[in-house]
Each structure stands twice: as structure tokens, then as C-alpha cells.
């Protein structure tokens, strides 16, 4: 249980949504993505290259961040709460009848992750693999001509375009959209408003025993 927040008065009952492992995983991912996006765009966009002409530096930042990101993922898998990670995976990879209804735009009660969040997590996980494989191939291709393929940079760039579109949507829902931005607290502090959870994630909120919330 995250212990960083002092329990507040009962006027806002909260339930725990993400533990320290999940939040660390999210923010490692977010930070690494932004640094690699920034340094990658400097390598990619001539207008930015003009502002920041130190290509070797941008490349070094890009590569060091990639290595740090992968190392952090391994560290989280080893030192984090593996039970939580297994639960996340179980929840994200399974779609029940309600999820499929929800994806078709019909009202359907949702669990801790709604079907859109599951789909987003799945695409992001696939992108993480594709970024890594194409990035490693780009790196190896500079050293071994057998590993140089014309499609490598197309894949790396294509993954970037998809990821940026998804992240913009993610930021909109997390920061701007009225009915979803209340979830932001969950990924920052770990808990969310119980009444909000009951409205948006009723199957999960109901399963959290009443009276046994994190206070």
C-alpha cells in the first residue's frame, strides 16, 4: 500500500488503485518516452537540428535513456511487487463481454481498467517491443552490415508516430477531459475517489470491500 498520503477526512473516501510498483512502472515509461522523443526529434527534424546541432550529444542522450529505461524495466520486474504486475497483466490481456460491448460504444460496467485503457496498454506494450527491436537493429546496423535493413528506420519512425498520437490522447484524457481526469490522482498518489470509481469502474469498485479502503 502506498504510504505517502496521510488519510484525509471521511468526506472524500478513496480506494487504492495503483501501488508503488505500478506507479514507478508508469512514470519510468513516461519519463523515458519524453526524453527519447525529444532527443529523437532532434535527430529527426531538420528544424530542431538547426536549434540543437549537437547530433552526437542528442544521440548519446537517446541511447543512454534507452539503456536506462530497459534496465529500469528489468529492475521493476525483479524488485517490484510481482504479484501486482501479474495482476495487471491478467486484467489487461482479458476482455470480457462487457469490455467488448464498451468498445462498441455501448454502456457496460468496467473493471479497474476499462476496455479502452486495456487496448491502449496493449498497443503501448507492443510499441515498446517494436521500439526496442528497431532501435537495437539501428544500433547494431551501424556496426554490422548484415543487420542493416532498409525497413528498420521506417519501423522506428512509424512506431514514433503511433506512440505520439496515443500519448496525446492519453494526456488529453488524463489532464483535460472532465470525466476521466479524476484518475490522475491514482497514478500520482495511488488512490482515487471511491464515488468516481463506482461510477466509472463499478466492477472493480464493488469488489473492493466497503469500509476496507486504504484509510
Amino acid at each position: 500500500m502506498p504510504g505517502s498520503v496521510a488519510p484525509t477526512a471521511s468526506r472524500a473516501r478513496r480506494i487504492a488503485r495503483f501501488d508503488a510498483t505500478e506507479r514507478t512502472l508508469h512514470w519510468v515509461h513516461a519519463l523515458a518516452f519524453l526524453v527519447m522523443l525529444g532527443s529523437g526529434l532532434v535527430l529527426y527534424v531538420p528544424a530542431l537540428t538547426r536549434l540543437l546541432p549537437d547530433r552526437p550529444l542528442a544521440k548519446a542522450i537517446h541511447l543512454a535513456t534507452a539503456v536506462a529505461w530497459l534496465a529500469a524495466l528489468v529492475l521493476i520486474a525483479l524488485a517490484g511487487n510481482r504479484r501486482t504486475l501479474a495482476r495487471d497483466r491478467r486484467e489487461i490481456e482479458r476482455f470480457d463481454a462487457d469490455d467488448l460491448r464498451w468498445l462498441r460504444g455501448r454502456p457496460a460496467p468496467q473493471g479497474r481498467f476499462n476496455a479502452g485503457q486495456k487496448a491502449h496498454a496493449i498497443v503501448q506494450a507492443a510499441l515498446a517491443v517494436l521500439f526496442t527491436v528497431s532501435g537495437v537493429l539501428l544500433w547494431l546496423g551501424e556496426r554490422d552490415t548484415d543487420l542493416r535493413f532498409a525497413g528498420t528506420i521506417v519501423l522506428h519512425d512509424g512506431a514514433m508516430f503511433v506512440a505520439v498520437a496515443l500519448v496525446i490522447g492519453h494526456l488529453y484524457l488524463a489532464l483535460v477531459h472532465r470525466s476521466t481526469r479524476r484518475a490522475l490522482r491514482g497514478i500520482v498518489l495511488g488512490d482515487v475517489d471511491a464515488a468516481w470509481a463506482a461510477r466509472h469502474h463499478p466492477k472493480w469498485a464493488a469488489a473492493e470491500t466497503p469500509g476496507d479502503d486504504r484509510v
Partner: protein, 237 residues
């Protein structure tokens, strides 16, 4: 491991569609190593039919330049002091000003640019001077001349092309690109354009053409790239 502990909700029912979607996306993405580049080339060719104003706003992974440099910041070009030195095995070594260079017989061409890392820019319009013209400006080559060390103002970048290679009809020292003087990041005031070879042969910020009797490995060639960098026939392609 135990499926759930008592305090946790049951794992959600349902089918592992997400796992399949994940594996499918990874497979699709990896397969694009094969079909991605031809597709982008096709789209780019199709995009060439669009008006320039429209195609300019469409992000195109293959249509855009990436600026490579090895020793920032980019060299600056001062027309008052800049000279192109042509020396080595030539009869009359010269130093040309930018204006004198532009006074030489001009050549124009449209050609593609291929980077060895996999990106390409198609249908670039170049204006410049053929190498034979430049060598004539230096009185012609002396016996034994075989190649030109193209020395960049960006130290220590250098690359060598043989005279034979530089006589292909679309090799030039370019000062205009797409109808405008070469910009700083593209190598102002002059760069080598060698469309049949990968971009690292196209030295930017050229300061000196040193005619020699042998081919020395250039900057990237000392780092493992092929000296004869024919597009599609070198560097593992």
C-alpha cells in the same frame, strides 16, 4: 503461483484477446521490416503528385531530411572570406570565391538521396558544378591523378571519390537545393551530390578538393562503412 489472494478481486473473466492483439501487433510491426520501406516509397511517390503546399504538411518518414554532422556546431559560411581550394595533382591550384564558383558553367539535375541508415529523399532538385568543370578551373589534372579527397570544413570529415566515380553524369558539387542556396545544415555553401552512392559520400561544407593518386578511407569508412558506397550494392544492402 496461487491465482489470487483473498483480498484481491477475482481475475476478470473473458478471453485473452489482449494477449493475441499484443502478439499480432508485434508480429505486424516486425513484418514491416520487409514491407515498410517499399510502402513508404510508394506513398512518397504518390505524394509527389500532390501540390507542394499540401505535401509539405504531411509527415513523411521517407520524404524528410535528417541532418547528420559529426562535430557540432555546423560550420558557418561567410561569403567574404570563404574559398574553395582545389589543389594536389592539378596544374594550377586555385582558390575560388563563392561568386567565382557560381560563375562557372552551371549544371542542374533532379535526383534521389539515399542514406545508408535507410531513409531516402526523392526528387531533390540540385544546382551546381560538375567535377570536370572544377578540375578545368584548376588547369586540369596532372599525370597520376586518380581521386579527390573532399575535405569538409567540419573537421575531421573527409571522403574520397575516384575521378572515374566523379564522372558519372549525376555527380556534382551543389550550391543550390530545391531552388534555393544550400542552407547551413545541408552544407552551405557547397556539398557533394553523388546520388548513386549513400549519403556519407556526399561531403557537406566542402572546403577543399585535394586531387591525389590514391583512395584513402574517409570518415565513415574508417568506422566500418564501404569505400565504394553504391546504393543497393554496398554496406550489406
Amino acid at each position: 503461483m496461487g491465482d489470487v489472494d483473498a483480498a484481491r478481486p477475482e481475475p476478470p473473466a473473458g478471453r485473452p484477446l489482449g494477449r493475441r492483439a499484443f502478439l499480432g501487433l508485434v508480429g505486424l510491426g516486425l513484418s514491416s521490416l520487409v514491407w515498410g520501406e517499399p510502402l513508404v516509397r510508394l506513398l512518397d511517390r504518390a505524394g509527389g503528385a500532390l501540390p507542394d503546399s499540401l505535401s509539405a504538411v504531411i509527415p513523411s518518414p521517407a520524404g524528410g531530411w535528417r541532418i547528420y554532422a559529426v562535430n557540432p556546431p555546423f560550420p558557418t559560411f561567410d561569403p567574404a572570406t570563404w574559398r574553395l581550394r582545389i589543389d594536389g595533382l592539378v596544374r594550377e591550384p586555385v582558390e575560388l570565391t563563392a561568386a567565382e564558383l557560381r560563375g562557372l558553367p552551371r549544371a542542374d539535375q533532379v535526383s534521389d538521396f539515399h542514406c545508408v541508415t535507410g531513409w531516402s529523399v526523392y526528387d531533390v532538385r540540385w544546382g551546381g558544378v560538375r567535377f570536370d568543370t572544377l578540375l578545368e578551373a584548376a588547369g586540369g589534372v596532372r599525370p597520376g591523378a586518380r581521386a579527390i579527397d573532399v575535405v569538409s570544413a567540419e573537421e575531421p570529415y573527409v571522403d574520397t571519390l575516384t575521378l572515374e566515380q566523379l564522372r558519372v553524369p549525376d555527380a556534382m558539387l551543389a550550391y543550390d537545393m530545391d531552388g534555393a542556396p544550400l542552407t547551413r545544415e545541408h552544407g552551405a555553401p557547397v556539398r557533394v551530390v553523388m546520388p548513386r552512392m549513400y549519403g556519407y559520400k556526399g561531403v557537406k561544407w566542402v572546403a577543399r578538393l585535394h586531387v591525389t593518386d590514391r583512395v584513402e578511407p574517409g570518415y565513415w569508412e574508417q568506422r566500418g562503412y564501404d569505400v565504394d558506397a553504391w546504393v543497393g550494392r554496398s554496406n550489406g544492402f
